[in-house]
């Protein structure tokens, strides 16, 4: 009898926390299919699928971030928690003596940093959103914005390119007028077999290239495929940031207080 209660409680907890059914290996029904064979796929559906593949309702991950600059290089080990587009927490598991234990909390459009040496939380002023996160080529904005490729951009197929790993659709995304985005234009190369981007190039409003993201090391988690390695190459010479996932889980239960400011203030 006590055993039964325990199982029941576990189930209830699972329901409350919205834990997905274990071993979900089939795609959700509302996800647009991957139009691998199509020469002229429905671009909107394709982008929607691509974005859905890369972001779950929630995810946790452990990754390394390697930053290379002309004057220094360093590798950090990070753990991340994310829920939807509004909540995210990054913790530096292994870094330098000054920043191991540092955490960045994103709540909606705002960022707070837990600074381990100061043992204080500091809210990031919005003017600093364009700056690199922890000296990397990922901007604070990348963490905050999570802009919607579907809602903020007009997509157009511009052709098919042959890559070493197979064919890719080339898609040009142009920012809609008044869309809250920092980019003017994006050029995506989307692998036809996996429906995942292999490269994204970012341009400003004047068409000046700003940076390139390259995706590789594709892996499978449940029904999803995802790139385990992301390389960010800014236009500035000699710089590069490489993100390599060590562990990644989608649609996992994350307690809400993970993203609480109270908790961040205590440095936990």
């Amino acid at each position: 009898m006590p055993k039964f209660v325990a199982i029941l409680r576990l189930l209830l907890v699972a329901l409350v926390l919205n834990v997905p059914t274990l071993g979900l290996a089939t795609e959700p029904a509302d996800l647009p299919p991957c139009p691998s064979q199509a020469e002229q796929p429905d671009v909107a559906g394709l982008i929607k699928r691509t974005q859905r593949l890369l972001e779950g309702a929630s995810s946790t991950a452990v990754m390394t971030m390697t930053i290379r600059t002309p004057s220094w290089s360093r590798t950090l080990k990070l753990q991340t928690w994310a829920k939807g587009r509004e909540l995210a927490l990054v913790r530096v598991l292994e870094g330098g003596p000054r920043d191991t234990g540092m955490m960045t909390l994103k709540r909606d459009k705002q960022l707070w940093n837990w600074l381990p040496q100061a043992a204080r939380v500091m809210k990031l002023p919005s003017a600093m959103l364009g700056d690199g996160w922890m000296g990397s080529d990922l901007t604070n904005d990348d963490l905050v914005r999570g802009s919607s490729l579907v809602d903020d951009f007009d997509a157009k197929l511009s052709g098919i390119v042959k890559l070493s790993g197979g064919d890719a659709w080339q898609v040009v995304l142009t920012a809609r007028p008044n869309a809250p985005v920092v980019w003017g234009k994006l050029e995506l190369q989307i692998d036809r077999a996996l429906c995942l981007p292999v490269q994204e190039r970012f341009f400003d409003e004047d068409g000046k290239p700003l940076r390139t993201l390259q995706f590789s090391d594709f892996r499978t988690a449940g029904w999803r495929h995802f790139p385990a390695k992301t390389t960010v190459i800014p236009e500035e010479k000699g710089r590069e940031t490489v993100l390599q996932y060590l562990e990644l889980q989608f649609d996992v239960a994350i307690p809400d207080d993970t993203f609480s400011l109270q908790r961040l203030r205590q440095g936990r």
Binding site: I67, S71, G95, G96, M102, L115, A118, R120, M122, K123
Partner: protein
């Protein structure tokens, strides 16, 4: 005899001579006073900045002035300091660190310039900041900070408050720490009052992970003044590491120097215009003085006086008036400068020009260089103004001249 004659001639129409001399004197006073006022102000401005933010000379790692990156360091400042003292004995040296980051207090945060200074070496003749409230940094390792006065106001923080600093350290890691505000600092106006966080040099080096490295060696050279090119060359010759850049104060703020030079030029033009007017007055007076005496000069010529002698006589009269005007003008100018002494510029106070605080009072120091300039112009003016009438008088035909009334 000619001199005596010229002198007597001057006082035959005493009123005209007095007016001419007075006009000339007024011009001299104007030039000398303006020059003195301007140069005294410039001296004060230069004194202020060379004893504060800039020093007379600064030493940096190569290229730091152009792109002040954290990693452009003078790695061994102690060795460089020894070389400085060998080249320019008696020089006061202040090592400084400059980095950037975010400063936060409570919910507020904003961009900050983080400056490391050594309080023991930032005193008297050479000091970056004036403490307007509280006290100076007391020592290394105490997590003390001075905030720029405007920054403190912006953050809404006072003495004893806590600020958090974040930046990027030398090795790329995130520098972060918290500090107690012990004083508010006035860095001589400019941006630093609104963005400067001053730490002890050692604390700033630890914060950014710089080791012993510094970004600036700020030098106050004994007897230093506006023109520092010679000490600059001497110093650079003594430095073992030739890649280090040695810059003069005016190379650090070239806009200030060029503003000064423009002002000098435009005032020189003004002086010439002023004396052109005086010269026209002189021309008029001397023309009258010779026309009046046409008959008399004709008699002189008939008695065998040579044209050259008549020319000399008239020019001597002019020069005598020039000397008188100059003497009078100098006396008045000197008296004015001494009487005025200090000019209060309180109306301009708190006004920053090119990020440099205007001095609140200017102590006037007689500019003899200005007087020399005025003397030159005055005498030239008198000669130019009188050469035409003198020439005409010398060329007169005695027969016609004696007949005129």
């Amino acid at each position: 005899m000619w001199l005596a004659l010229a002198w007597r001639n001057l006082w035959r129409n005493a009123r005209r001579t007095r007016i001419t001399v007075a006009a000339l004197a007024l011009g001299v006073v104007a030039i000398v006073f303006l020059e003195t006022y301007r140069e005294s102000t410039f001296r004060q401005v230069i004194e202020n900045i060379t004893s504060g933010a800039l020093g007379h000379l600064q030493i940096h790692a190569a290229g730091w002035q152009k792109s002040p990156e954290l990693e452009r360091l003078i790695a061994e400042p102690a060795q460089v300091e020894a070389q400085v003292l060998r080249a320019l004995p008696g020089t006061k040296i202040a090592p400084r660190v400059l980095g950037y980051g975010l400063v936060g207090a409570g919910e507020q945060s904003t961009g900050a310039a983080v400056l490391g200074i050594d309080p023991a070496r930032e005193q008297g003749e050479l000091h970056f900041v004036e403490i307007t409230k509280g006290k100076h940094l007391s020592g290394a390792g105490r997590r003390e900070a001075l905030l720029g006065v405007d920054l403190a106001e912006q953050l809404g923080i006072g003495l004893g408050g806590e600020v958090v600093l974040v930046g990027q350290a030398f090795d790329g890691s995130v520098a972060n720490d918290r500090f107690t505000v012990v004083g508010l600092a006035d860095a001589g106006g400019g941006e630093l009052n609104g963005s400067g966080v001053f730490l002890h040099l050692v604390d700033a080096q630890a914060f950014f992970g710089l080791g012993n490295g510094v970004h600036q060696l700020v030098l106050r050279v004994p007897g230093g003044h506006e023109d520092m090119q010679v000490p600059q060359t001497v110093l650079h010759g003594q430095l073992a590491d030739k890649s280090l850049e040695v810059l003069t104060w005016d190379q650090l703020v070239p806009e200030l120097k060029s503003t000064m030079n423009e002002k000098r030029k435009s005032q020189a033009v003004l002086s010439y215009v002023l004396f052109l007017l005086v010269a026209l007055g002189v021309l008029n007076a001397m023309t009258m003085a010779t026309l009046e005496r046409t008959r008399e000069l004709g008699v002189l010529a008939s008695l065998g006086t040579r044209p050259r002698q008549i020319l000399g006589l008239i020019l001597t009269e002019a020069l005598l008036q020039g000397v008188l005007g100059l003497a009078l003008g100098t006396g008045v100018a000197l008296a004015t400068v001494l009487a005025v002494g200090d000019i209060s510029l309180a109306a301009f106070a708190k006004q920053d020009i090119l990020g440099i605080r205007f001095p609140t009072t200017v102590h006037l120091v007689m500019q003899w260089h200005g007087l020399a300039q005025a003397a030159q112009i005055a005498l030239v003016t008198m000669l130019v103004g009188s050469v035409l009438p003198a020439w005409r008088a010398a060329r007169m035909k005695p027969a016609e001249a004696t007949r005129s009334y």
